[in-house]
């Protein structure tokens, strides 16, 4: 087993699936010769040629529309949106067509496609490069949204996303693209979609997060541990459809819940989890649910962005508030 980074997990999953399924095609801006601006597709065009790893003209409308066309005709396209901030021109094709194709043709045409995009802040990137906009997509019926938070989950979940028969948005937390390495065996083994991963068992409080903030959430759990507080940590991983049962089970045990995400608070995915806890876990709760999130502002340009992203301290404080309640 080799030690790889999160972004290498992405590359390996793409390579594995392209080797084993000739219908998988990668497309996007700069994905070919350049191997992607983050190098997620590095080496793929050399291995699979320019018709399977396609440098497209600069137009997200084209990329999304072509992807829908290819998917309906039997290919499995994996498109790259260079940054999540440039995904908006794709929305029309994704929302008006990709996610409805199966339903409106009664299963005659389907859209097994993946759109990958580097997502989230914290790398001192320019304007429009740092948004965490998963909530926008979480409101769309028929869509799957997956956000890995480790090299192994990037590898296993991307394989699952490509094999999934429906459209999947695969957001890659770029802040942790190269943050650490982990042993991952390149064996083509997918991880399950639509389930949360319990990363750490605990008794006193449940910490729920996804993507890059899993790092701060685990650090908060360590800090709490040092004070004798035992925190369970859940990586949501598939944002939609949500595996609420796993979260509920944990909260039934701990009685307390803190949801952590870097996206804005208002109508964020945290709001959905909190609402379901109110609906279904009201009597298990010993304290109000807390949310530790970005503010309801634009993520500022990088000189202030670390003031926007939720730090470990805020998670720890929120957890303690739930314990004090």
């Amino acid at each position: 087993m080799a030690e790889i980074t999160l972004i290498e997990g992405v590359t390996q999953a793409l390579a594995w699936e392209m080797r084993n399924d000739p219908s998988v095609v990668v497309l996007g801006e700069d994905v070919g010769v350049n191997g992607g601006v983050f190098r997620a597709t590095v080496g793929l065009q050399e291995q699979f040629g320019p018709w399977r790893v396609i440098d497209t003209p600069l137009c997200e409308t084209s990329i999304a529309g072509l992807t829908v066309g290819m998917a309906c005709q039997g290919l499995k396209p994996v498109a790259e949106a260079q940054f999540e901030g440039f995904i908006y021109p794709m929305l029309e094709h994704l929302m008006c067509h990709a996610v409805r194709m199966r339903n409106r043709t009664r299963g005659r045409l389907t859209c097994p496609l993946v759109v990958r995009a580097p997502w989230g802040g914290g790398i001192r990137a320019p304007e429009h490069h740092s948004e965490a906009n998963e909530a926008l997509f979480a409101n769309v019926p028929g869509l799957r949204i997956v956000i890995p938070s480790s090299p192994a989950r990037a590898y296993g979940l991307l394989l699952a996303a490509i094999r999934d028969p429906d459209p999947v948005i695969f957001f890659e937390p770029k802040r942790i693209y190269r943050q650490y390495k982990e042993e991952v065996s390149d064996d083509g083994e997918a991880l399950p979609l639509d389930v949360c991963f319990v990363l750490r068992d605990g008794r006193d409080v449940t910490l729920v997060s996804w993507g890059a903030t899993i790092k701060e959430t685990l650090e908060a759990a360590d800090a709490l541990e040092a004070e004798g507080i035992s925190a369970e940590v859940i990586d949501v991983a598939t944002i939609k459809p949500l595996d609420f049962d796993t979260i509920h089970e944990s909260v039934a045990k701990t009685g307390r819940c803190v949801i952590v995400h870097e996206a804005p608070k208002n109508v964020g995915v945290g709001a959905e989890i909190a609402a379901r806890l109110a609906e279904q876990a009201m009597y298990d709760l010993l304290a109000p649910v807390e949310r530790v999130t970005g503010y309801d502002t634009h993520i500022p340009l990088f000189r202030l962005e670390m003031k926007y992203l939720p730090p470990v301290g805020r998670i720890v404080e929120a957890a303690k508030r739930t314990l004090a309640a």
């Binding site: 070919g32 320019p126 634009h298 202030l304």
Partner: protein, 359 residues
């Protein structure tokens, strides 16, 4: 057979790469030596600024920066041909155009330095800020031009995008609106041959990017984008036409991106050194200097003095930028709405309190 339509695209160039005039007929601007010297100085100042900005990025004092190396003639022509009341909708590297219009180098540095205040720039307050999402600005220019038309104002909107940008739906939509509404609009495509790693040849099957305007019923022209005189004449004509109700234009300025796409890019991964070397032979600044020197309007001595002045001015701007303190945490809540909603005011207060407590 009957032919439904035919078209040609004119290509214009007045100076060869050595700064020798091509053909006999030079436009009037070629004889306005004082103005040409002014534009030469703008171009070479911009290059000093660009070099300095790249160095600042390399030493961690700036974020990702988009260089304008090699684009100076195109940008100087765009900015200098416009009137202050016209509106510019730039992409993200047209510094010379903006400097001419009054934007300060410190504003540019502030923006790439990760501070919103860079967008609150000096210069025409109605100009658009940099547009990172490619080619979206083309439609903002078209919308501005529509506003000018509706109000009967003799103003023109100019947008600038790249060869890559000319593939985007927004670009086609903008030129279509420009033709349909006969707008006072000039769409400039600064074709620097590369959209990050994708060469012009893979961007479109069209022979020229200018001809895309034909489909929208626009005036179309391709010029040597390293020839200031050709670029400037093209701009003058397109602006005049737009101002006098003659409709919209597309101008393709053919130039070359001499640096990496941005400081986050490494062009050696996808581009031949030989190509870059060859492009240096056609670059715009030496070409104009040779022309002006031959006519006695510029000299090596003046060059030396000017370069020293540029260094001094750029250093002043860099100092001004570096000595600007970061905005306080509450800045991210300011200017979010005209009237700050209660919810935002509460979050703002919370952020300030957290800052006081934790720093």
């Amino acid at each position: 057979m009957t032919t439904a339509a035919t078209f040609e695209i004119e290509y214009r160039q007045y100076l060869d790469p050595d700064g020798h005039p091509i053909g006999k007929q030079l436009p009037a601007i070629a004889r306005d030596l004082d103005h040409l010297v002014e534009l030469y100085q703008l171009m070479s100042f911009t290059r000093v600024f660009d070099t300095k900005s790249i160095a600042l990025q390399r030493t961690g004092k700036l974020g990702t920066y988009a260089s304008c190396l090699g684009h100076e003639a195109a940008h100087a022509a765009i900015g200098s041909a416009m009137r202050p009341e016209d509106v510019l909708a730039p992409a993200y590297r047209e510094y010379a155009a903006q400097f001419y219009r009054g934007v300060k180098p410190r504003d540019v540095l502030m923006y790439w330095g990760g501070d919103e205040r860079g967008n609150d720039f000096s210069g025409p307050r109605h100009d658009f800020a940099w547009s990172v999402p490619i080619a979206t600005q083309c439609l903002h220019a078209a919308g501005s031009a529509l506003a000018f038309r509706i109000r009967g104002e003799q103003r023109v909107a100019v947008s600038v995008c790249g060869d890559g940008g000319s593939s985007k739906a927004d670009f086609y939509a903008a030129l279509n609106c420009g033709g349909a509404f006969e707008l006072p609009l000039v769409l400039v495509v600064v074709n620097n041959q590369w959209a990050i790693s994708v060469p012009r040849s893979k961007q479109t099957g069209a022979k020229t990017l200018a001809q895309k305007g034909i489909a929208g019923g626009l005036h179309c022209l391709q010029v040597d984008g390293n020839d200031l005189i050709a670029c400037r004449e093209a701009m003058d004509q397109a602006l005049d036409r737009a101002r006098s109700g003659g409709g919209a234009s597309v101008i393709e300025m053919v130039t070359y991106r001499l640096h990496d796409h941005t400081t986050a890019d490494d062009a050696r991964r996808y581009r031949d050194d030989a190509e870059v070397k060859a492009a240096w032979q056609r670059e715009p600044i030496g070409r104009l200097r040779a022309y002006l020197t031959r006519l006695g309007a510029w000299s090596d001595a003046r060059e030396d003095t000017w370069k020293a002045q540029c260094e001094e001015r750029v250093n002043e701007e860099v100092d001004a930028y570096l000595s600007t303190r970061a905005q306080p945490v509450e800045a991210m809540f300011d200017h979010l709405y005209g009237d700050t909603p209660l919810e935002i005011a509460q979050q703002r207060a919370l952020a300030v309190a957290r800052e006081v407590k934790h720093g």
